[in-house]
Symmetry: C2
Subunit: 206 residues, 2 copies
Amino acid sequence: MEFSSKLIEKAVDEMAQFPGVGKRTALRLILHLLKQPKEHTTSLVTALQKMREEIKFCASCYNISDTDVCEICVNASRDKTLICVVEDIRDVMAIENTGQYRGMYHVLGGKISPIEGIGPDDLTIESLIDKVQTGAVKELVFALSSTIEGDTTNFYIFRRIENCKIKITTIARGIAVGDELEYADEITLGRSILHRIPFESSLKST
Amino acid sequence: MEFSSKLIEKAVDEMAQFPGVGKRTALRLILHLLKQPKEHTTSLVTALQKMREEIKFCASCYNISDTDVCEICVNASRDKTLICVVEDIRDVMAIENTGQYRGMYHVLGGKISPIEGIGPDDLTIESLIDKVQTGAVKELVFALSSTIEGDTTNFYIFRRIENCKIKITTIARGIAVGDELEYADEITLGRSILHRIPFESSLKST
């Protein structure tokens, strides 16, 4: 792609560094900015810059936060003995939206992935293990996605803490509420049957 | 979508104003920024801001330019009597890349679209008509996309200048080079046959 303007070329190159954004998309986004008043760009740029400069990672759970310790960690009404292990803040948001969880979180910041060169030291695993070893935690809930990387990460953490006397659980896998059985994949349906629950429990869960 | 951080929320809202970017995508892009060093965001933000502040629209053809008059318009070796009418700078780039065109351009900045509330006055049509009326232009080539909006725009301009003694042409529609006839749509194939050209001309065109 050749640009007659160096300014456009530089802006396109920068935008195209986002994952999933190619040069054509980047150019489309930039032409959008050009069609809007200048204030629009200023507002976007200010929000991004301010966010990147001022955002903090919670010193306890590594969730993204405007303060040193996040709202969830300072909330006295939440169960400090229960920790849900997630990959990133989108998972925290998803679980919070269910309104079904009143424990704490621990955000790993990724999954162990030898292919992408991400090892245990690149994640916040040590800090999680420290928390568990203080003895204040009763249950750890794994809520990573069930991929090879997710399973590897779960297993790595499990091996590191298996001698600690805590309950280690993982979120239930199964057919989504409202889904037809015939369209479900075999592995999910298989797990659904294997880990069936008493009918009475299902009545309570909404 | 609920965010625990106001900074993230504001940044997501800003990013989600791009066409085709929803809140989920915006969040994904922003989390990407957070995983990169701060300098990365500064560099992106500076490029966007600088581009928006300093970019100019060529005073003659409305192409995007770093200077008051664009490189194409100041180029003495180009044919000033031939003007290609396009929608935006992406079209200029596409045609320039072919290396087959040595005339000038006129960038309309959009197409007439009553549905989107875009009328002739929102485009650079008056300026194009002024150019034609000076008598210096011999041929106008319409190169808008063949949609209802594109055809409407072509026809509007045609009616405004039909009394001027200039040649008005439109780019050829037909089967793309390398495409199989059997997969072509009927309208395109129909036009291909209707507007067939002497075989000898096809030998010259590459």
